[in-house]
Amino acid sequence: MKLIVSESEEATEPISTAEVARPVKAVPQRRPPFSALPDTPLVKVEASQKTRLPLDLRGLWAYRELLYFLTWRDIKVRYKQTLIGATWAILQPLFTMLVFTIFFGILIGVPSDGVPYPLFAYAGLLPWTFFANAVTNSSNSLIVNSNLISKVYFPRIMIPAAAVAAGLMDLVIASVILIGLAFYYRVTLTWGILLLPFFVLLTTLLALGLGICVSALNVKYRDVRHALPFILQSWMFMTPIIYPASVVPAQFQWALALNPMTGIVEGFRAALYGGSLNPTAIAISVALTFLLLVGSAYVFKRIERVVVDFI
């Protein structure tokens, strides 16, 4: 095939752009980013890596500010765009207490260890409401915050932990009614009141232990969401809240004591308006809380590694 090239020589050999005079650009001076790289990697991830400790406590400590901010956010957002705001924290246990007082205290005449029934019921409902709400909120927390989890790294345990911590604020607000009731019924405070923070802490740890476990399971098995309300409701009736532990027959007392919330609720009451502490029940509560925390940490760790792939 004969090709006739129609361009002149000049055109087929374009003038190189290099011939155009141009300002010489100074090479940007880079400052050395840091004097030397660390010898050991700051982060090392291996696929087969097996962690012996379920919790990297040092890592958690580094993220303590995040726990604070997430808790603060949960509190701040909870009663946004409601008419009565944080009053809801009071109304929920207050109305439950009124209903219980009318039906169980007055109509049925459930004994209350010689304490006015409203005070008795409220002192039990206060830790229970905190516990139940904390567990419920943290069970959903990983799913609710999925956008966060799938976009940025931080210890995931902060999410259910913040949900539990945020419940503490409600507990404090709802305590106002308890103080009012205590004044109204002229409760004489004893040194036992100093034990109250201990029981609050114990409830928090128990809620945390259960919350992190349930939140992790909920990510994988959404059955949790359906089962939890009914489990918590049954649990409440198995805890001496509307009735005193003393009405339970002696041969079933052990079963009552196996419920970690029994020691807490009874202890709460004892700390508030006196009465004998049940050391066995409290010891069981402490032991179960500890076991639950450790076990949950393992469950959480297992699921944490793959949580992003599930939500």
Binding site: A11, T17, R22, P38, P41, V43, K44, L66, V152, F310
Partner: protein, 440 residues
């Protein structure tokens, strides 16, 4: 130099149809647990089917201060890789080491809560990204100034426009002070002005000598910011090299307008009884057919045609359009040689040369034609959308019409023009200097 990021044999496997899709609830799990051993017996220890390697055999090192771009089609594994490196998810095989703190920005506005004010969200977002509160307080004014929303900082962000929202989110993110910065597509936000500001900020971060890993579909941003680019396809690294080279090859492969079109059967080729097109192609100065050109260099468009009937005065021509369909120019061969000269029968190849530093970055489409312009224009052969090519620009060198500018430059062409400047030290004597100023 010792790498700051070392990735070895990294792989990530996903089960198709969602993880644990087969046992989504307790009941099914229990059922599966009972049946599974028997199933295993029957089919041996075959792994569960429908597994997909989102990433496989990924190995690379990143030197401190390097800006590495990751490109590839959707689903190539770019985002999965960034997610693994920012520890959002874990690899199935292999591992990696990081010798510096990591700030990752896989999405702007991560953790922003609509009910919280801008101020509150800055602190929350900062805490989530791992910025210390003291650090945030110190730089708060800087962040707000960068976002340009001073007036609305105490308004809940749900009342923000999407632009305001993204500006605030990006402002927090770029104030991450980590040695390694991982970013995914963050530049696709805001208006042009803010995008430019973001690119400038990233350029600043780059010049501070921090290491950046950057995923984007905006190739112009990739070539401008990165010196090195890794291209992923179907979970594997297919190319690792200089940004210009990798991006050009990638664009050449993916810009679906072809760089070359050939009509082997003359009877079906565009044209009439006078002339028919044989081939149109985009070429570089070396004669190689290419769909990806450097805006700084000459690009040629060859038109090959066969004259079937003698005695016609013919001129090949090209219409060039950009990706938005804006018609940049119509050019035809008005050269002396064939201007008024009837063409003998035979084959011709005419090349139109577009000089370097003339086009802007982007995609271009060329229509090719052979026409006669004697008395009236008669179009003998015309191929619409005959060829296409992509012009890109490297950030290296600064020897393009872009000069030292970063960010987006508007305008449909970007010629490198000569400028002359006259200087008057004395304002009183500001008479135009009559003599010619040397044009360089």
């Amino acid at each position: 130099m010792k790498p700051i990021i070392r990735v070895e044999n990294l792989g990530k496997q996903y089960q198709m149809g969602g993880l644990l899709a087969s046992h989504g609830s307790f009941r099914e799990l229990v059922g599966a647990a009972l049946i599974e051993p028997f199933k295993r017996l029957r089919r041996g220890s075959r792994p569960p089917n429908e597994m997909l390697w989102a990433l496989k055999d990924i190995n690379f090192d990143v030197r401190p201060g390097e800006t590495l771009g990751l490109i590839g089609h959707n689903g190539a594994g770019k985002s999965t890789l960034l997610k693994i490196l920012s520890r959002v998810t874990e690899p199935t095989t292999g591992g990696f080491e990081l010798y510096g703190r990591v700030g990752s920005l896989l999405e702007v506005g991560t953790g922003f809560h609509p009910d919280l004010t801008g101020r509150e969200n800055v602190f929350l977002n900062g805490a989530i990204l791992g910025i210390k509160r003291i650090e945030l307080e110190r730089r708060f004014d800087e962040i707000v100034a960068f976002s340009e929303i001073e007036k609305f900082i105490d308004t809940p962000v749900k009342y923000y426009s999407s632009g305001m929202y993204l500006r605030l989110a990006f402002a927090v993110a770029v104030h991450l002070d980590t040695e390694i910065l991982i970013m995914d597509e963050v530049l696709a936000v805001g208006d042009v002005g803010f995008q430019q500001k973001c690119i400038e900020k990233m350029d600043e971060i780059r010049q501070q000598g921090r290491t950046i890993l950057f995923v984007s579909h905006a190739m112009s941003a990739v070539t401008r910011l990165c010196e090195r680019v890794i291209r992923l396809e179907r979970g594997r690294i297919v190319q690792d090299g200089s940004a210009q080279k990798v991006v050009n090859d990638y664009l050449g492969a993916s810009w679906n307008a072809t760089a070359e079109r050939e009509w082997t059967d003359l009877s079906e080729a565009p044209g009439d009884e006078v002339v028919r097109l044989r081939r149109v192609r985009v070429r570089d100065e070396g004669g190689q057919t290419t769909a990806a050109i450097d805006v700084r260099l000459y690009v040629g468009i060859d038109v090959e045609y066969e004259v079937l009937e003698p005695g016609h005065v013919l001129a090949p021509g090209i219409d060039l359009l950009n990706e938005e369909g804006v018609h940049l120019f119509s050019a035809y061969d008005a050269g002396e040689e064939w201007r008024r000269r009837p063409r003998p029968v035979g084959c011709y190849t005419s090349t139109m040369w577009i000089p370097g530093n003339c086009l802007a970055e982007g995609n271009f489409v060329a229509h090719a034609a052979v026409a006669s312009h004697v008395l009236e224009t008669v179009m003998h052969a015309y191929a619409r959308n005959a060829v296409g090519f992509q012009a890109s620009e490297s950030r290296e060198g600064g020897d393009s019409a872009r000069g030292d500018r970063t960010g987006t430059i508007s305008g449909i062409i970007r010629p490198w023009l000569n400028w002359t400047t006259q200087f008057y030290a004395d304002k009183e004597a500001s008479q135009p200097v009559p003599e010619e100023v040397a044009i360089t």
